[in-house]
């Protein structure tokens, strides 16, 4: 049941779509795989068939994605939706699963464009029903027009303000915004402001959201130092500390957000080297200007390299697409350089903003490394911060050993929501920098798949012994 393509791209967000269409345009056979039922990734979720009547709710930036989706639909790209990729081997054998059936495909070139996910937000009570990520609020709004009135938004970072702003535009009452951005971040960010001013439009836009949110008569509380989520079977109250004083707000819905981080699982399992990025506090894929990694034929595009936003992802997608075309022998290097040049300039423009944003919205330590030992770090296996600290005192040196000591990282999310937290806890408890600790070893299957799917992979399996 094997199939072969010149270029296979995993992820149909802006980076994946941009790479796919440019590659197909220049004659490559291109396969684009994505888990969602429609193209767009997370940022442009449901953009093509968006049915919210008032376009001001989601904002103009969102609808930019429509162009990319249309371009994709008009292209010769083979786009398979609802497809989970559970393996990309070093030899570029791709394991796919859709509707209960799994099969294998190979490609000369693979581009991983799996984008980003939200950073974990391990505070007491974060596992209670009624507590979700701000991105979840956005998905519900974009895909189904569903919203939660009287929610409390907690955290820091552009996406938090964007979602609150979208709620405001849609006329959905917000109970409160608890802003955890520390005062000291502004001082850290100031030296980077001049560079960011080259992207004045984006900065002013963000400023405008925040200003308009402040103007509303709902509490927009800044300098929040600590947060606890309280409830029995679901969230009922948010406790927060500000200027040393604890206060609370009653609510049945909380949206958390403190930044996004690259989805590295597929890339790491494929053997791509990553180093610790202490600015963005996450893993950074080692790529060259064309997105190529240490693994021959495997490139990465978009937020999977570093977090840089939707437009940067699109430009990275184009650039990586051109790179792949040369490696397929469908374009020469000079032509590639020429075609990629405007996208490279545009990308540089987007990247100039990043140091300012990264500093301004750097999530504070107490929200990344829970002080309360009873806080759950590994949601799947219910492993607490205290258990992780105890494991270190018992001799556990890193996240791989941690699995054996505590089961942290052994659940179905495969470390996606505990990996960064446990790494930082281990580093802090051992008294070493994160760079001194080896990353969690990840292998296929990179998403869980059913035994029946794996069992039916080939027509003629050899039977054992």
């Amino acid at each position: 049941m094997k199939d072969h393509y010149q270029i296979a791209i995993i992820g149909a967000g802006p980076a994946g779509m941009a790479a796919a269409t440019i590659a197909a345009k220049h004659g490559a056979s291109v396969l684009l795989l994505d888990e969602q039922p429609h193209a767009g990734g997370q940022i442009y979720r449901a953009v093509k068939r968006q049915s919210i009547k008032d376009r001001d709710v989601l904002g103009a930036d969102y609808y930019v994605g429509r162009g990319l989706v249309t371009e994709l639909d008009d292209s010769a790209v083979k786009h398979i939706t609802g497809a989970t990729v559970w393996q990309v081997s070093p030899e570029r054998e791709i394991g796919i699963s859709k509707d209960g059936v799994a099969w294998l495909v190979t490609a000369d070139q693979v581009i991983l464009a799996t984008g980003a996910q939200e950073r974990p937000f391990p505070i007491p009570g974060w596992t209670l029903p009624g507590v979700m990520n701000a991105g979840a609020a956005q998905v519900l709004l974009k895909s189904s027009g569903v919203a939660s009135p009287d929610a409390v938004f907690v955290g820091t970072g552009p996406l938090l303000y964007l979602v609150a702003y979208q709620y405001m535009r849609a006329g959905i009452p917000i109970r409160a915004i608890l802003d955890t951005t520390p005062k000291s971040n502004m001082l850290r960010a100031l030296p980077h402001l001049p560079a960011a001013l080259t992207n004045l439009g984006a900065l002013l836009k963000g400023q405008r959201w925040i200003k308009q949110l402040h103007a509303k008569s709902m509490p927009f509380i800044k300098d929040v130092e600590d947060v606890r989520l309280i409830g029995e079977d679901a969230i009922s109250k948010v406790e927060y500390r500000r200027a040393g004083q604890w206060q609370h707000i009653e609510t049945t819905q909380v949206f958390l957000h403190q930044g996004v981080v690259p989805n590295v699982n597929l890339a790491m399992a494929a053997g791509c080297e990553h180093t610790w990025n202490d600015i963005q506090l996450c893993w950074r894929a080692e790529t060259n200007a064309w997105g190529e990694t240490n693994m021959p034929g495997i490139a990465i595009a978009g937020d999977g390299i570093t977090i840089a936003g939707a437009r940067a992802a699109e430009f990275r997608g184009r650039i990586t697409g051109y790179g792949a075309l040369v490696r397929c022998g469908l374009m020469n290097a000079a032509e590639r350089d020429r075609q990629a040049q405007p996208f490279q300039s545009a990308l540089n423009g987007e990247l100039r903003m990043r140091p300012f944003l990264d500093a301004m919205f750097r999530p504070p330590r107490q929200f990344r490394i829970p002080e309360d030992d009873a806080t759950i770090v590994c949601r799947c296996e219910e492993v607490t911060a205290g258990k992780i600290r105890e494991s270190v005192t018992l001799g556990c040196l890193g996240p791989n050993q941690l699995k054996s000591f505590s089961r942290c990282g052994m659940g179905p999310c495969q470390g996606r929501f505990c990996g960064l937290t446990s790494l930082e806890i281990i580093a802090e408890t051992r008294g070493v920098p994160v760079e001194a600790i080896e990353a969690m070893r990840l292998r296929a299957p990179v998403k869980p798949l059913m035994l029946s799917e794996l069992a039916s992979l080939s027509a003629e399996p050899e039977l054992t012994d």
Partner: protein
């Protein structure tokens, strides 16, 4: 903090830890030197079986050593429980091997008879489909039958490892983590072992570093010919308990997840997984337990077995440097009791048990 001990054990895996605990238990001050998180930790890939059936079928010394260990396992388990208060998940309900063709069944029976021919205490029963179904209700219709032996059992390999470490430390032993051994020297009757962090001295030295033993052994002129052999394992999400009997290729852990194995691949130090082997393991598992087909596989990896040329353990004392020993095997859980309660005692006395002579490294150099 002292760096002089009666015994240094290099390797804090299942073999090293059992021997170290056994030495400390005999009154020798013992330290384990372990590489740390990045080590090829065979224990992580160990299925957790305390397995007698199919061991040493054609090599009586190994069959007897295995038997000895299985019979003393309850004692080791009790000691660890007593010292640490922790349950390492050991039980001895017997063990099974499922066959999905008549040929497999026949081949299995022949093998068991061969084992029994030199190990008459080894009991087994060949079961047809119906009889096997009485034992294990969830087997699929294509299972033609299998083999059951009351001598088999299982334990949690990682709890065992932790239990051995804690027991060692409770008795006054030490565990030094996070440093590869870079040099071994001998002066007079003292071994001197260096890591990046420190230098340790002892009268006795045991190299039990799994795949790392080969290189370490050359530092004191010993030849321990071992190589990695990969066995891929799939692990499911937590499932409600349905299988209390361990099988050689399917085992449900106490947390509910089911381990599925296995393969024997010669791929060097590659711990990766391959779609073809995962498919084969999954297909066989679904044949043996059809209701597992809706179980999700959440993890898979290629575990590297420590394999000697004939597959049996290697136990050797250096002839040039008396007091230096090497011990490697791929059945660290099964042999843990023998290592802790029998081997360690001999090493403490400066010898290897006579019964282990056929498993010395000599057998590879002899014609």
């Amino acid at each position: 903090m002292s760096t002089t001990y009666d015994a240094i054990v290099v390797g804090g895996g299942l073999v090293g830890s059992a021997i170290a605990y056994g030495l400390q238990r005999k009154g020798l001050s013992t330290v384990i030197l372990d590489e740390g998180d990045i080590a090829f930790r065979a224990a992580r890939g160990n299925f957790g079986l305390v397995w007698v059936q199919s061991k040493g079928t054609d090599f009586p010394p190994y069959a007897q050593w295995t038997w000895k260990s299985a019979e003393s396992w309850a004692e080791l388990n009790a000691e660890i429980l007593d010292i640490t208060g922790d349950d390492i998940g050991y039980s001895r309900p017997g063990g099974g091997e499922l066959c999905i063709t008549e040929k497999e069944l026949e081949s299995r029976r022949e093998k068991m008879l061969r084992l029994q021919s030199h190990a008459p205490h080894f009991k087994f029963e060949m079961l047809d489909h119906k009889a096997m179904r009485d034992l294990i209700p969830d087997i699929g219709p294509e299972v033609v039958g299998g083999c059951y032996s009351p001598a088999d059992g299982h334990a949690n390999p990682l709890y065992l490892l932790r239990g051995l470490h804690q027991s060692l430390q409770a008795k006054g032993g030490a565990l030094e983590n996070g440093g590869k051994v870079t040099a071994i020297n001998r002066q007079g009757g003292t071994f001197s072992v260096s890591t990046a962090k420190a230098k340790y001295q002892s009268a006795k030295l045991v190299l039990a570093a799994g795949l790392g033993t080969k290189d370490l052994a050359t530092m004191i002129g010993m030849n321990v010919p071992i190589r990695p052999q990969r066995g891929q394992i799939l692990v499911t999400e937590r499932l409600k308990p349905f299988l209390s009997l361990p099988l050689s290729k399917v085992r449900q852990t106490s947390e509910g997840s089911v381990q599925l194995g296995d393969s024997q691949e010669e791929v060097g130090f590659d711990e990766g997984t391959t779609s073809s082997v995962m498919n084969r393991i999954a297909h066989r598992a679904a044949t043996m337990f059809p209701h597992l087909k809706h179980a999700r596989i959440v993890r898979a990896w290629g575990a590297l077995r420590v394999m000697s040329p004939d597959g049996y353990p290697v136990y050797v004392q250096s002839e040039d440097h008396l007091g230096a020993f090497a011990a490697v095997c791929h059945s660290g859980v099964t042999l843990a009791a023998a290592h802790a309660l029998h081997l360690a005692g001999s090493i403490a006395d400066g010898t290897l048990p006579d019964e282990l002579a056929p498993m010395s490294a000599q057998r590879f150099t002899n014609a």
